[in-house]
Amino acid sequence: EPEVTQTPSHQVTQMGQEVILRCVPISNHLYFYWYRQILGQKVEFLVSFYNNEISEKSEIFDDQFSVERPDGSNFTLKIRSTKLEDSAMYFCASSSELAGGGVGKNIQYFGAGTRLSVL
């Protein structure tokens, strides 16, 4: 069964350093997402991406964050200068369509996440 793959599973970095979190979405999917979950809290939307541009972003997704689809398979989240409060689990998700259509077309499939620890 196709799945969303995220690497690395755990990233440790020093405050102020740049990190890139990588995701390989399901191959025929067109919509890509990043979510964040601070330990013990709910999952929060960061950004959605379609047709090589950002569709929507949250207030959390400030100038320190960027996303890119550098080739036909990878989808990355970059944090330019990490802060202590960026420590969280970051989830990538993908879907084949936004909404409507048939059953299953707007379901987002999640990767296993990358745990980011900022020291």
Binding site: Q37, E56, A99, N106, I107, G111, G113
Partner: protein
């Protein structure tokens, strides 16, 4: 703005029993979707069940079913014949429909423990 509320931070159930997790939401949208996701200790988010708001019929998926009350903006999850593997955090989530959709808005989660 849409909000999702799960008022039960923790619940427990005996194996083979039935448990119901509550979720309420607030929206002015008429076209939307509701989801329940499961997050086991591995922390992977796994879809449990999906409901289209325009459908009156409650969604079912094997031992999992929902009670969707659109007027009350309530979307509860019933797990029948609970199994030890159902132990996880359960998140209720909302998504707008149409071309404005895509973003999932999650509730705070309910931690379910299934006891042998």
């Amino acid at each position: 703005a849409q909000t999702v509320t799960q008022s039960q931070p923790e619940m427990s159930v005996q194996e083979a029993e039935t448990v119901t997790l509550s979720c309420t939401y607030d929206t002015s949208e008429s076209n939307y979707y509701l989801f329940w996701y499961k997050q086991p200790p591995s922390r992977q988010m796994i879809l449990v069940i999906r409901q289209e708001a325009y459908k009156q019929q409650n969604a079912t998926e094997n031992r999992f079913s929902v009670n969707f009350q659109k007027a009350a903006k309530s979307f509860s999850l019933k797990i029948s014949d609970s199994q030890l593997g159902d132990t996880a955090m359960y998140f209720c989530a909302f998504m707008r429909g149409g071309n404005q959709g895509g973003k999932l808005i999650f509730g705070q989660g309910t931690e379910l423990s299934v006891k042998p």
